[in-house]
């Protein structure tokens, strides 16, 4: 019986104009989105490669260790083809040097605002918005449409169990919607192979899980469509309700949830944090300068009753040590400041995390949010890329700086490449030149290692959303089931 019902359902769907509409729209959109994503990814890779090459070249052209700085770049990942997430919003690079904070700057959208005007189109977007709409289109009249058409009566004049009927409706609509997806999806995968996108096993696992999540997501809308269709007598009514539900769930709730959370739990602004940091730094430097002054006074005190020549000789003897001592002190201050900065960042991050959790929690009242969050976690384009990359870059900066200082020490004292300006009440102003060592050998500079996004690492945070999606789907299906059992077939 079930087989007969499913067969009929499929046949009816395939013969209907909405099937051909869905099929062509899905085919165009999926292939298009994969193609655009691919081109975008390739452009990003090219940009990344030139940028890193150029940055390395700049390093090679440096003539002194002291002024050696570099930049670390965020690496493009093939998964961004399918789930752009926030990867266009988060900065691509941070400069790596002793004076400035690690901060991802130059996001794609701020560099090229033209792409920010209408944003991106990726598989997630298509599934989230277009496919859910089609799922509704497929099921809004599943039950009440047959009632209006009179075929429901005729069907139930036969010994047809209602359970099997609703199950067949569900399976039939599901298959009817999956079929138009499979072919373009396959073409999309072929495109990946054709363009030699470097997909690892992990990537494939992520991609297939993503496709699974997509199926789960539109299954919810199929169940929802059946539910509303089994609750209403007229298909125009059910369609209106579903459209309203769709607008609310897909377009409104996610945004409203996050915005609400933003208002409930305010987070200190970047400017405030910068202010705190700089305030501390200023205080610390002032301390340092005061101590320095004192120390110099002490040092000079020892010279008080020497002759000019003796003083000069004494200074020449000690100046190097003094400078070293001062330098050590300076480094200590720097360390303190970066320690404080770390603490501030930690604090800010915790408060942000609270806000984000609340925002996402509220937005998860909609399966569309759950789906998108799961997809972003899987693809590694969720908002945690920012802190994760910044952490990795901070570690890298420490490594880079200690390497640099090491080199500085090894190759000609602390000041190679810098210059020294002396004021001497006896000899006046003296700028001692540049002890440039010519080119420096940067072949063994530590290389920035981007954080790796393993499949399992993405799957884990996505699990709650998978669970939620399943729950929503089961609830909608169960409710539809119950509603249909009491449906008046006349």
């Amino acid at each position: 019986m079930l087989k007969i019902l499913i067969e009929k359902e499929l046949k009816a769907i395939i013969l209907s104009p909405k099937f051909s509409a869905t099929f062509s729209v899905c085919a165009i959109l999926i292939v298009l989105s994969v193609f655009i994503g691919l081109r975008d990814y390739q452009a990003a890779v090219a940009q990344y490669e030139t940028a890193t090459t150029l940055s390395n070249q700049e390093m090679r052209e440096q003539t002194s260790w002291m002024s050696l700085n570099t930049r670390a770049y965020r690496e493009p990942d093939p998964m961004q083809i399918f789930v752009a997430g926030v990867q266009n919003d988060v900065g691509r690079l941070s400069s790596i040097n002793a004076f400035s904070q690690i901060k991802l700057e130059n996001s794609n959208y701020s560099d090229e605002p033209i792409f920010a005007v209408f944003r991106f189109i990726d598989l997630t977007f298509i599934v989230q918005i277009v496919l859910s709409l089609f799922a509704i289109l497929f099921t809004y009249d599943a039950i009440n449409g047959e009632r209006e058409g009179g075929t429901l009566q005729l069907t139930f004049a036969n010994a047809v169990p209602r359970v099997q009927y609703i199950l067949a409706k569900f399976i039939g609509s599901w298959l009817g919607l999956v079929l138009p997806l499979l072919i373009p999806l396959l073409i999309g995968l072929l495109l990946l192979l054709l363009f030699r996108v470097p997909m690892t096993g992990d990537h494939w696992a992520k991609l297939f899980t993503l496709i699974g999540a997509s199926f789960l997501y539109f299954t919810f809308f199929i169940a929802l469509g059946l539910l509303v269709s089994a609750l209403t007598k007229r298909s125009t009514t059910s369609f209106m309700f579903l459209l309203v539900a769709w607008v609310t769930l897909v377009l409104i709730v996610p945004r409203a949830g996050v915005m609400l959370a933003g208002q409930i739990t305010p987070v200190p602004t970047v400017a405030e944090i910068d202010g705190q940091r700089e305030g501390y730094a200023k205080e610390r430097w002032k301390q340092h300068m005061d101590a320095l002054t004192e120390r110099w006074e002490e040092r000079n005190a020892g010279l008080q009753n020497l002759t000019a020549e003796e003083r000069e000789a004494f200074r020449d003897d000690h100046s190097w040590d003094w400078m070293k001592e001062d330098e050590e002190e300076r480094k200590l201050v720097q360390r303190d400041i970066s320690e404080y900065d770390r603490k501030l960042n930690e604090d800010l991050r915790n408060r942000k995390a609270t806000q984000e959790r609340l925002g996402f929690l509220l937005s998860r009242f909609s399966p569309a949010s759950s789906y998108q969050l799961a997809a972003m976690h899987l693809a590694g384009t969720d908002i945690s890329i920012k802190p994760e990359y910044e952490d990795a870059m901070r570690d890298y900066r420490d490594k880079f700086i200690s390497y640099r200082e090491q080199k500085q020490k090894e190759e000609g004292g602390g000041m190679a490449g810098g210059f020294r300006i002396e004021f001497n009440s006896d000899t006046g102003m003296k700028i001692s030149g540049d002890r440039d060592s010519g080119a420096i050998d940067v072949t063994d500079v530590p290389v920035f290692e981007a954080p790796q996004y393993r499949f399992a690492a993405g799957l884990l945070p996505a699990m709650p959303d998978f669970g939620l999606l399943t729950l929503y789907t089961l609830l909608a299906f169960a409710a539809g089931f119950v509603a249909f059992l009491r449906y008046d077939v006349r």
């Binding site: 019902l5 009816a12 058409g149 009566q153 005729l154 139930f156 004049a157 036969n158 010994a159 047809v160």
Partner: protein, 264 residues
Amino acid sequence: METTSTNEAVTNHAVNSPSQSRAMLAADNLTKRYEDGVLALDHVTFEVNQGHIYAMLGGNGAGKTTTINLFLNFIEPTEGEARINGIVTHKEPLRAKEKIAFVSENVMLYPNFTALQNLDFFARLGGQTGYSKDDYREVLLRVGLQEEAHNKRLKGFSKGMRQKCGIAIAILKDAPAILLDEPTSGLDPKAGFEFIRLLESLRDEGKAILMSTHDIFRARDIADTIGIMNQGRIVMQSQKSDIAGEDLEKLYMKYMAGYMEQVN
């Protein structure tokens, strides 16, 4: 309540019904009060045996469709029960429905399917999986649907064509009981006549047929028993033989009027 109108019927009857005492379709004090308080059926009792046609006569709103819906378990009775081959419909609807075929007042089928596709689906729903395309064609020809229409989508079918498909579906199911709700309304006279012949041949095959109609003359033509229904009650029930000589129209009006007087 035995009929002896045709010899064939008697033989068929004997062959097909092992338990003569049990009626194929039985309404037993069937009562239905809708949620809004309308008492649509008021303790209706009747039986239809195999090889019999029972015609429910009555005006609009008399309760005919309600009766049929109760047999189909589309609604549940407030009181009493409807039985099909002894099976109480609202207790075991699935088992009961295996025994009946139904033709509605306005047969509606899947507009995107062809006649053959519709037939195939509903025949299989009715438990008949062994038919071939030729069987479908044969039945469609038997109910009078021209060959050209067999492979056309139902979208463009007229009401008469759809009714024919509906009866074809009922025939294909080959159930011992057939329910028809005003099947001839909207048919042209020729189609109506052919339809009546078809019903007779089905009766002769031994089917128990319950048909609602407001066409007095057709009812008298083929019914073995006629029940006149008004405001949810059977106000008169008589065998064909009993009213053979009488003017059914007058009788109908008389009962309706009489009933009205009784009420007032």
